[in-house]
């Protein structure tokens, strides 16, 4: 018994050494992917690369919603840790500061068309490359809008959006649809408001104050605008304001593709699902989120990313090189750019292929009219899970009439300070 055990142990040790030794020479890539929907595409691309170059590329996809935990345990594996992973925001840069290789001067960065989506660490080094971007706004069903007697051209700012929405809501029974989908505060939906919608007050405040990196405190100077749009969402909708935590993301999506609502706040990533549910691309448009800020008629969609590649600083040099070579191939080769265009839309690289996504095209059209991008200021949120949880709870209480707007101001301003202090 003992002998057998010892023998097996010895065998296991020898085997590990063998596998280490063989990988050491050429380097290998281990990608921890966080988008389950793109898993198959990555696996196929990795296999192609291995076939062409002989370099081993392993892709592991974390199960939905478990990326953080998976990353933590995988990075703990020393030589077997991922060589490539994703960081989403400033908080991620702080958390993984010991694991991110500065990417400045690499061929990967040289292939990029913009640095806007990259993340920098406290020393100013680029540690994560934003490999795709997303845009969000108010997805609109143009066919329903026309049925109500309006067109997207009628909506130019908050006042006109409110006028249209109020009118549709008032005639909901007669029209058979309402203005907005449910503003659900279930976890599957609440990020649209605690993450994406809070971007509006954050973006304008940071713009006014010239803030370009994570601040320790915020003032909430544009919370009135946030209140405008939130009030509109919950007033001009069929959802019960006292039970908002009972509405899921799927509920809102269903309201929209079933033709029960005209407006649906969401992003470019929704496109494929909506088409999949049988919606006509010609009926879809994405409007900027108007919330009553001066000059907002010149705003484009909210564009940014939470998808940034980071290379493991603790991986061997051979592995780091293999990883960077792989990435360069992904963003320059035909196979790579095709896959990226299909899965991630227009990517910010020189060799990018065009996308068929209507929402991205809306985004590009608005920009070509000279409108300003509303960048993802919420990427600066410290301890974002807890900050957002505070906002969600405050929104829920406020909407049900159990707390006043002050609760949201507190969650927004004081919550930020607390979350910043906790993580620094």
């Amino acid at each position: 018994m003992k002998k057998l055990f010892a023998l097996m142990l010895a065998l296991a040790m020898v085997l590990t050494m063998v596998s280490l030794a063989s990988a050491e020479e050429t380097g290998k890539v281990y990608y921890l992917n966080f988008k389950p929907e793109a898993d198959q595409a990555w696996q196929a691309l990795a296999a192609q690369y291995t076939q062409q170059t002989g370099v081993e590329v392993k892709v592991l996809t974390a199960a939905s919603g478990t990326y953080k935990q998976t990353l933590t345990s995988e990075l703990d594996k020393g030589a077997a840790a991922p060589t490539l992973f994703q960081i989403g925001n400033a908080e991620g840069v702080v958390t993984w500061k010991d694991y991110t290789l500065p990417l400045d001067g690499t061929e990967l960065l040289a292939e990029m068309t913009t640095e806007d989506f990259n993340l920098k660490n406290a020393d100013g080094a680029t540690v994560a490359a934003g490999y795709c971007y997303e845009a969000y706004g108010i997805i609109t069903n143009k066919a329903l809008l026309a049925k109500a007697g309006y067109s997207v051209a009628d909506i130019k700012d908050f006042a006109s959006l409110k006028a249209v929405a109020d009118d549709i809501h008032a005639r909901a029974a007669e029209l058979g649809f309402d203005a907005f989908t449910s503003a659900g505060l279930d976890g599957s939906s609440s990020w649209r408001f605690s993450g994406h919608l809070t971007n509006m007050p954050l973006f304008y405040e940071f713009r006014d104050d010239g803030i370009t990196e994570q601040p320790a405190t915020v003032k909430g100077s544009y919370l009135d605008a946030y209140k405008n749009i939130w009030d509109l969402y919950i007033t001009d909708s069929a959802a019960d304001v006292k039970k908002l935590s009972g509405y899921t993301g799927a509920d809102a999506e269903k309201d929209f593709y079933d033709g029960k609502a005209v407006f649906f706040q969401n992003g470019t990533w929704e496109y494929e699902s909506l088409i999949g549910y049988g919606m006509n691309p010609d009926d879809l448009a994405m409007l900027p989120i108007y919330c009553g800020v001066e000059g907002e008629e010149n705003a484009a969609l909210c564009a940014g990313t939470e998808n940034c590649w980071a290379v493991n600083a603790k991986a061997s040099e051979a592995d780091q090189k293999a990883t960077l070579d792989f990435l360069k191939w992904v963003v320059t080769s035909d196979e790579g750019t095709q896959m990226m265009a299909k899965e991630f839309g227009p990517i910010p690289f020189k060799a990018a292929k065009a996308s068929t996504n209507v929402f991205f095209n809306d985004s590009t059209a608005l920009l070509s009219e000279g409108k300003y991008v509303v960048t993802w200021a919420f990427n600066f949120t410290p301890d974002s899970d807890n900050w957002r949880a505070g906002i969600v709870s405050a929104l829920e209480q406020y909407s049900a009439g159990a707390a006043d707007w002050g609760e949201i101001e507190y969650a927004f301003v004081e919550g930020w300070a607390t979350c910043y202090a906790n993580t620094h």
């Binding site: 991620g92 039970k243 935590s245 829920e396």
Partner: protein, 294 residues
């Protein structure tokens, strides 16, 4: 044990000796599992609680700062008070209800086996699933969601805990009640004791071992509760930055997911362990002393 060696075949030295010689074969697998699944993580947990870390292999020593931070965290203190309240209220309710049901179902009423089964079934459903079902039921019955009114959240949690645990405790109480010596009950009857007096002076002292087990289980269950708390309210409503219905386990889990707070979460976990151990030891010795030897 040795002195009592019974004449049964299994206890015969002829069989026992060879088995005893191979004790490692029987004990080691379990012991290894215990080490890998409990002992090692526990020791590592204590080690990590005095370190700052993101991954366990890359920890830097920081001393007792994590413990100071844990004590200074208002959310943790609130969670402590709230957990204690939930644990005590659920302890009392679960045990009173479980005993009452067990008592009723040992009176020989018709269909008592069916009822026992029905009361026990909820215990077979996992906490998360059960939590979601109850969340839907409770939220649809209330004027506003549990996550808006902390009171609703509290009582919702208590209802779910009772529903889940009463059946389990009931089984233990039934076993205890069936072991109450019939001659004592008969003697009480002959002496003219009424139902209440019999219950108070004969039955209860005799089921003390069951009470010890049940109070131990429900108290520790109450302190360790996580699933139902996560699903029903997830700590909401948040007032002034503090989750009003957040219990200790949830608070620790949330702290762990915060950047640069993993050491603090670990320190909280160690404190949590000490607390639960201390409380259960005190409770065990308190109820044990009331047990009667038959």
């Amino acid at each position: 044990m040795k002195k009592k060696s019974a004449p049964g075949a299994v206890t015969s030295p002829l069989i026992r000796k060879p088995i005893q010689r191979r004790f490692a074969l029987f004990l080691l697998p379990t012991f290894l599992c215990f080490c890998a699944g409990f002992l090692w993580p526990f020791i590592q947990g204590i080690y990590l609680s005095v370190h700052s870390f993101t991954t366990t292999s890359n920890a830097t020593w920081v001393g007792f700062v994590n413990y100071t931070k844990a004590f200074n965290d208002a959310g943790f203190r609130q969670a402590f008070g709230y957990t204690a309240l939930v644990a005590v209220v659920s302890l009392v309710l679960i045990n009173v209800l479980a005993f009452a049901v067990a008592y009723a179902l040992t009176r020989g009423i018709k269909g008592s086996n069916l009822f026992r089964g029905v009361f026990f079934v909820p215990n077979l459903i996992g906490g998360i699933v059960l939590g979601y079902i109850w969340k839907t039921i409770i939220d649809s019955a209330l004027p506003v969601s549990m996550s808006i009114q902390a009171n609703y959240g509290f009582w919702g949690l208590i209802v779910v805990m009772c529903w889940q645990q009463v059946g389990y405790m009931m089984i233990i109480y039934i076993a205890g009640l069936q072991a109450v010596p019939e001659d004592m009950l008969e003697a009480a009857r002959i002496d003219g004791a009424n139902g209440w007096r019999t219950l108070w002076h004969i039955t209860l002292p005799n089921v003390m071992p069951s009470i010890t087990i049940c109070t131990f289980l429900s108290l520790t269950n109450g302190f360790k509760l996580y699933d139902q708390n996560l699903v029903l309210t997830n700590g909401a409503p948040v007032r002034r930055g503090i989750g009003q219905t957040e219990m200790l386990a949830l608070n620790i889990a949330k702290t762990f997911s915060t950047a640069n707070q993993r050491g603090v979460a670990q320190a909280k976990a160690v404190l949590f362990f000490l607390l639960v151990t201390a409380i259960s030891l005190i409770q065990l010795s308190a109820t044990r002393s009331k047990e009667v030897q038959q």
